[in-house]
Symmetry: C2
Subunit: 129 residues, 2 copies
């Protein structure tokens, strides 16, 4: 599991970390039950602060993707991630809306937008870029 953080990005580094861990889960590099590094060890590895890793972990815990066991460690959700509820799908749709709007205003067609999504799915599942 290779983590790359862009310190110049406008995306907070705790979110970059969380997102890359999510991609690891999608790819199966991180399997249910796998343990993640301690906040101190991970922070040291990545050259960031303990609290920043902690924030990423809690972000993933809120999404029920990992389990944080106090004074013990952090593991990937052992039972696997349940499929998105209708509510979560709607939240995702709402979050997606501004970007679809941006595409449309830049004269991209529905098909072009679909192609972008399909390409992204491939990239994420294969671990490209």
């Amino acid at each position: 599991m290779f983590i790359e953080i862009e310190s110049n990005s406008d995306v907070p580094i705790y979110l970059q970390l969380a997102q890359q861990l999510m991609e690891g889960i999608v790819r199966g590099e991180l399997k249910p039950g796998d343990s993640l590094p301690s906040v101190r060890a991970f922070a040291s590895d990545l050259g960031m602060n303990m609290h920043t890793v902690n924030k990423a972990y809690h972000y993933l815990e809120e999404k029920e993707l990992i389990q944080i066991v106090a004074k013990s460690g952090v593991i990937i959700q052992p039972n696997g991630v349940p499929k998105a509820s209708e509510e979560k799908k709607q939240k995702l749709e709402a979050q997606l809306r501004p970007f679809v709007t941006e595409g449309l205003v830049l004269k991209l067609s529905e098909e072009e937008l679909v192609v972008i999504v399909r390409k992204l799915v491939q990239k994420i599942e294969e671990g490209n870029e």
Copy 2:
């Protein structure tokens, strides 16, 4: 053109405003050459600060969707919006990536994600919700 701002949203209100104006452009409610309200009048209408409207306008100007003519007013890009360059498409793809990841980690299939995007295109073009 109806604008609705959610003050409880985690999306900054200047962005909410800019996004809804973009949807207006997509729908053709705002046509090239149309003028937008002055920052003061709009702010008064929407119950927000002049500077917040100003920020939304400059956000849209950076995207070349409107033209701000100092001491005169603001108009929708008169020549229409040029189609997205390859660079802009890639930027959009990068912005979309975390949300596609989120969908995949919640066990949504590629097809389900595509359906969400198609639904969104319809909603935005028809002005639903």
